[in-house]
Symmetry: C2
Subunit: 389 residues, 2 copies
């Protein structure tokens, strides 16, 4: 269920892609608060810079796919302003109320003429039924739209919901938002709390997901609360906890969809590390395994090649004793004390599943963390060896 | 020319591979000094632990391919001792004079029976003509043997030479020796100086080369000086500088051969970073570019997709201003001030070469460094999706 207070639309602007939806718009007709998290890449796209400066006032989101508007030089900021103005005028808003996001090829100037020409139709199409089109318009090499929703189980008061949409695919790494994600709620949340909850839940979901370790110049995650379901904003306390849990559920679902649809991916693997000295070391270890090309090709080959996992752990920077490591695949006890315990045939069978969980216990302390990853397949090479052509 | 004072041999021990040379031996009949550098992986193979403890006395090198003897549990050290003893007895040496190295699958117990059975023939075959066979015996997924040699241009005194052999292919990352390499010289070098020169030159060559960012459990680089060409060891001074230059030349050639023959590689690309704040940041930047799957697939696709390079630099941890970055491909001025300067057609043409150099100037300081890398191709996935089968 789409939260109350929002409309969306998408059109074929023909900015770079032909004959597909490539420009989307979401508007909060009622507006209570908004927040965002952004790429940590030193090279930040012009729309990232634009939206960072306006995140607290943003009640509309304009997104184009195909051109990232990153590293496009002096004109890039101007093109952001022109885009925002074109939308703002027709919505009777200020341009500071328009958030921008772009995804696509870096270094190509934004086709601003095509964008501006498309805006009137885009605004005209806005409707409470426009969200499916919006979800399609923001994709690049994704093979399917990604949305998630949940009803927030508040103990009392009017019902409210959270809906989210994302695009992922390549240049996905566990460092910041690492993709485009847009989340809407008709709850009302005190703005500072909203910022904090978004940062916390993004850290536990999107920032724990990796396709290829490459962090994009454009990663942005926005949340807008319309407040259409209740007037009094949630503050710290039980309602904040309930809201946070629902938000995390939506983000987690989107992160999983992104990794499941990673470029060329045939597997979704959750790498859980336990027993590290600290949570930081658990994350180092999980990321080293999740990003190792040799581990990822073994996932693709359905090869129970545990030596590659041990080798990745060993260069991760986490402190442990290799002969104390235990590894399970789902509920199969695979490795015990650094050596094969389960039958290889069982491990191979477990790795034939489309989705599974590797639980790695370093038996060296209380630290734990996890990272979602996918495999490296022929199609990753195919897609990225010819992405622009 | 093989330095004086050494013999080598190889046999088909049938330890795991069938009908190919898989066990090699080098012996220094005259011995003056030896040194080594080893993997920094927390998980270190049994032969690494063995050889580390005996590196100063090692005058023979026994190497098997196919089984890494890493993560093989309690029996692993025993198998090292048995291997070394078998060779030492026939050579009339102590087992502490035998260095060991293994490469292959992690977690498979070493086939010690096959090894021991093969040792008598191996020792019998030792000859000054055995080095080509040795170079073949240490390979795994390498497609060709890798050797390099040079005559040391000392100003005076008897001539001396350096010869080296290496195996690489997968699990190659810029962190320690990152493969197996064995270097022989008939010069005599003061032992402490030999250690220092090996460490310095390995850091500038092998530790600046990456195939996939994965650091093996078995990486080892040994040098043995026979002293057969001169009795007085080189100490600090001009001769040490000349020796170091020759040693670096041999290691650099081997490192290039390793990357050129990286698993599935079709390109050899040198990433030179200049103008970083410090050398450390230059290295961070060069490694981020050299290890980025998106950059490496663009190399494979001969796609002048410079945005991926900017994005990798941006997440590297190096400090710079994206709009001050210049990039050349060989002598083509490609990117100036963070934007395309050369014609894309020229950049594409330059990337069609089998080997080229990317020179990245961050224009932010005096730091420079470089990393050798290769592309990511379908064959990397093919080889590693089915390595053990």
């Amino acid at each position: 269920m789409i939260p109350k207070g929002f409309r969306a639309a998408a059109v074929e602007a023909q900015m770079r892609y032909k004959n597909r939806l490539d420009l989307g718009l979401i508007v909060a007709d009622e507006f209570q608060a908004s927040a965002g998290v952004f790429t940590q890449n030193v090279s930040q796209a012009a729309p990232v810079v634009w939206s960072k400066n306006r995140i607290a006032t943003g009640r509309a989101i304009l997104v184009n796919a195909g051109q990232a508007n990153a590293q496009t030089g002096r004109g890039a900021g101007d093109r952001c302003l022109q885009s925002a103005k074109a939308v703002a005028e027709l919505l009777l808003l200020s341009s500071d109320e328009i958030l921008l996001a772009s995804t696509g090829v870096i270094g190509q100037p934004l086709n601003i003429e095509a964008l501006i020409s498309a805006v009137p139709n885009l605004v005209k199409n806005l409707s409470v039924d426009g969200f499916d089109d919006f979800a399609k318009a923001i994709l690049t090499t994704d093979t399917k739209p990604k949305t998630a929703e949940t009803t927030i189980p508040f103990d009392s008061g009017p019902p409210a919901s959270i809906w989210g949409v994302a695009k992922g695919s390549g240049m996905i790494a566990p460092n910041m938002a690492t993709m485009l994600g847009f989340v809407l709620t008709d709850a009302a949340v005190e703005p500072k709390l909203l910022r904090s909850l978004l940062a916390q839940t993004a850290e536990l979901t999107f920032n724990r997901a990796t396709v290829d370790g490459d962090t994009s110049t454009n990663d942005s995650l926005f949340i807008i609360a319309s407040g259409a379901s209740r007037k009094t904003p949630i503050a710290e306390g039980r309602d904040a906890e309930i809201f946070k849990k629902s938000l995390k559920e939506v983000l987690d679902s989107l992160a999983r969809q992104i990794i499941r649809d990673g470029e060329g991916a045939t597997k979704l693997v959750e790498i859980r590390v336990q027993g590290a000295r600290t949570r930081e070391e658990a994350l180092l270890a999980a990321r080293a395994v999740a990003q190792s090309p040799l581990v990822k090709t073994a996932f693709f080959g359905e090869d129970a090649n545990w030596g590659r996992i041990l080798a990745a752990l060993g260069r991760s920077g986490a402190d442990f004793e290799p002969y104390r490591v235990d590894i399970d695949i789902d509920d199969l006890a695979w490795i015990r004390h650094g050596l094969v315990f389960g039958r290889e045939a069982d491990a191979t069978l477990a790795m034939k599943k489309r989705e599974y969980c590797l639980t790695i216990n370093l038996n060296n302390g209380p630290g734990q963390d996890r990272v979602l990853t996918c495999d490296f397949s022929y199609d990753y090479i195919k897609i990225n060896g010819s992405y622009r052509s």
